[in-house]
Symmetry: C2
Subunit: 249 residues, 2 copies
């Protein structure tokens, strides 16, 4: 009998942001496992499933729980918000499967809409051309490394999407990130941020890098910093495809 | 009456990779417009719609066609492969709406699964942590700018996803990109590429940066270059979340 764990990105929040493939995969499962908040987001849509949850920090345990369920013959879905492969559980699931001897269990990763593209769609088109995605969380990454990535992305004139811009313990991280970017980019650089993407209370804001530095965000916010070409068109934050305008000038 | 254009990312190819929201938006439309190949991918699923197509290069015309249809009262979907906001039509649609006076038409961008996360899911989890997305197409971007972005991404130790790695006219671009990355990264850096994501003939390959340089790809290939931490686990290409392993050593 096939023993299988699906690692599924459920998208930013709303059920309709899930792919048809993700829904079918979850319907095919006996057990659905995730962080409490994400399980609550999908519970109603998948009646008759066994739901198992662990707190935010218990990710290794959550992966092993899923692998154990699958090994015992219950096809299992591990759900992540956004995309399972972008700051999600897809990697850790492969690591734990390998380190703890669950090689008989097959892993299938089902992609989902990540906050970068979900938030971009709400703001307009900030990531239409080359971009970098950087998390400001220093739980697993030294701040020096994060700083180095911010500098590299700014030097390369990438549009930048910031995940985890701040939290209760990291209130000033977005300000520190903006200060670094301001060494390379104009304070007029077009920026935007979206709160509670595809959830109740969704908010979008278009601003500048100078003003973003003074803006308080939270862990439910995704931040977008434009490249040198990014402009405001109507109320939208839009990065042109390449350098069409330069060439035409 | 509301005049509306949806700019919809239909995902990498297979119908089931579309989001429920994208399907519902297309069902609500009278007219569906896109590049011929993408329209053919979805035509069967949406009977009774008016389908309009333009060739690959006629993107401005395609946007104006959609805006004109909407202004005349027919709710219209402009479809893009992957995500409409990642090398897609979302930005150009905002630009054309503004430049050519279609302000009465509302634009709603519906995100989709882009090749970066679709391909990552097939390979394992190469983009689990900070990453950069770079197109090697120099149609609208000077090659010097692309080179600068490759250098910046390598210096920042980003995992990198390359779109448009080559084409008939740009056969050696992937080789040139690899040569630049090899100035900063080991030839043993774990790399992968996926052809025909979610379409017939899908192929995945895990390799090294040194070997990738010698590999011929095509315009239907998405390429992934690992960061300094990326490893092969079983047959999967996996980038750890942050620097957990360094810390534990």
């Amino acid at each position: 009998m096939k023993k299988k764990v699906y690692v599924i990105g459920i998208g930013p929040g709303a059920y309709e942001e899930m792919t048809i493939r993700a829904v079918r995969a979850m319907e095919s499962c006996e057990v659905i496992i995730g962080y409490t908040v994400y399980v609550d987001l999908v519970k109603e849509q998948f009646p008759g499933k066994t739901f198992l949850t662990t707190p935010m920090t218990k990710e290794v345990e959550r992966c092993e729980m899923a692998l154990r369920e699958a090994r015992e013959g219950r096809t299992t879905a591990m759900i992540c918000s956004g995309d399972a492969g972008v700051y999600g559980m897809a990697g850790l699931m492969h690591e734990i499967r390998n380190e703890r001897g669950y090689s008989e269990v097959e892993i299938e990763v089902v992609p989902g809409i990540t906050a970068a593209t979900a938030g971009a769609a709400i703001l307009g088109a900030p990531l239409i051309h080359d971009f970098a995605v950087i998390s400001l969380s220093d739980l697993l990454t030294p701040w020096e490394k994060i700083e180095e990535r911010l500098r590299s992305a700014a030097k390369g004139d990438f549009a930048i999407c910031l995940y985890n811009p701040s939290s209760r313990k990291r209130k000033d991280y977005l300000r520190r990130a903006c200060e670094i970017l301001l060494e390379y980019q104009s304070p007029d650089t077009v920026c935007g941020y979206v709160r509670q993407i595809a959830r109740d209370g969704q908010e979008k804001h278009v601003t500048t890098l100078g003003r973003l530095k003074e803006t308080g965000t939270d862990m439910f916010t995704t931040v977008f910093i434009g490249n040198s070409q990014t402009r405001v068109i109507g109320e939208a934050m839009v990065t042109p495809r390449g350098y069409r305008y330069e060439k035409e000038d």
